[in-house]
Structures are given as C-alpha cells and as structure tokens.
C-alpha cells in the first residue's frame, strides 16, 4: 500500500480567483488516493481552497499559487504559497492586511485540518496536515 499512497504532487495556478477550482479538484483527487472518508476529502478541499483564497486576497503576493502535496500512508501535508512567476520580478514584502479579510478562511483551515503552520515572509505560505482517521 505504501507504494500506492506515498508521493509528491505539485500544482501551480495563476493567482486569480477563477483558478481556485482547479486547485480544489486536484487536491480532492490527491486526497482520494489516501484512505480518507468523503467528509475528510471535502475538509481538505475546502482548507486548500481557503489557503488559495488567502493568497489571492493579499496584495503584492506574486502572480502564481503553488500547491505542494505530500501524501503518506497515514495522511497528507499540503503547502500553499503565493509566488512570483519566472517572468516577473519578485514581489515586494507584503504588509499584513489591517482588516479582518480572510480571518474566516484561516479559522476554517484551522478547524478542518489537524495542524496549520504559517511561515513568516512575504506573501502567503501555509503548511497544513490532515491525518487519515482511525
């Protein structure tokens, strides 16, 4: 079984709202390879989409979103970060947004995943994990 579930899947999409659905479906397909329940797959899908939305709502966060998924027998780690494409200068360091924008999204990620870590630095960089239940 390890052979069929351990792996790395990397996805890059434009940092624009209309592409988040692609990340959502791809991550659902990745999670589907593990022994997650349908409910857990939905959780992962929403959490990753919220992380992408966070990337999009921030200003000055590059023009791409990278979704890096690492699957193991017992769970999934996903890193979602905004980054500048090769053909664009690096983004300026982002000021944290003063308003509550995105707070609900971050709260959902925290609720739906087993752990979330926010890497400091410019743009968004969230690492989240979810273990397969039982």
């Amino acid at each position: 079984m390890t052979q069929t579930t351990a792996g790395v899947v990397e996805l890059r999409i434009p940092r624009r709202a209309e592409w988040v659905a692609v990340a959502r479906l791809a991550v659902a397909a990745v999670a589907n390879r593990l022994r997650f329940s349908i409910e857990e797959i939905e959780d992962v899908k929403l959490a990753v989409a919220e992380a992408c939305t966070t990337c999009i709502l921030q200003t000055d966060a590059g023009d791409q979103i990278e979704i890096y998924c690492e699957t193991k027998e017992d769970g999934l780690t996903v890193r979602v970060r905004s980054l500048a494409g090769a053909d664009q200068p690096s983004p300026l360091p982002a000021e944290p947004e003063p308003d509550a924008r995105g707070a609900l999204g971050i709260f959902l990620i925290q609720s739906l995943m087993d752990s979330v870590k926010h890497n400091a630095g410019r743009g968004t960089d969230l690492v989240m994990t979810k273990k397969v239940s039982e």
Partner: protein, 114 residues
Amino acid sequence: MDIKVSVREAPGHAYVVELSGEIDVYTSPKVKDAITELIDRGHYNLVINLGNVRYIDSTGLGVLIGGLKRVREHGGSVNLVCTNPQIKKIFDITGLVKIFGIFDDEDSAMKALV
C-alpha cells in the same frame, strides 16, 4: 464549478434567492450582486435556498453574513435552506448556525420569516 442564481418573489413580500453550484472566491461576487440588488430595491425578507449548492467557502459565507447585516438594519431577516451535511457542518463550525435560521425546505424557511 459555476453558480446559477435565480431570484423570485414569494407570497408575503418575501423573496427567494435560489442558488445552485459552487460558491467560492470566483463565483461569490455574482451571489453578492443578486442579494445587493434585492436589498437596494427595498426587499428585506429573504430566503436563500442553498439546496443545490455543493460547496461554499468563506467568501460565500461572507456574502451571506453581509446580506444578513444589511437586511437587519431594516428590520428584515435572512433564512437559509440547507440540507447538504458538508455545508451544514461549515455553518456549525463557524457558529453561523446561531445567527442564521437554517431550514430543511423552502416552506419552513418562508413561514419562519414572518
């Protein structure tokens, strides 16, 4: 991966906003526009039917919350129709279940408006 929005008048000066599809950062502005237009036209008693919504994210929730805030300023209210367990769970987790009336069908949501 898309949203369909249909608005219709119901008996008793209420309006039903029927949504079907997925409400996310891309599609929620369309939902917001429909709700904002209704409120701008003076309709403050709304049933938002999420019966055919398969997915909602924080931006979608934000739109619903925004709508509720505005109609409340005019003494109105928003009731939701929602049966999808995954979506109900999102309302539970966020505590929004306490600020919206959530019903299994349009009839009950409508009756509870008055």
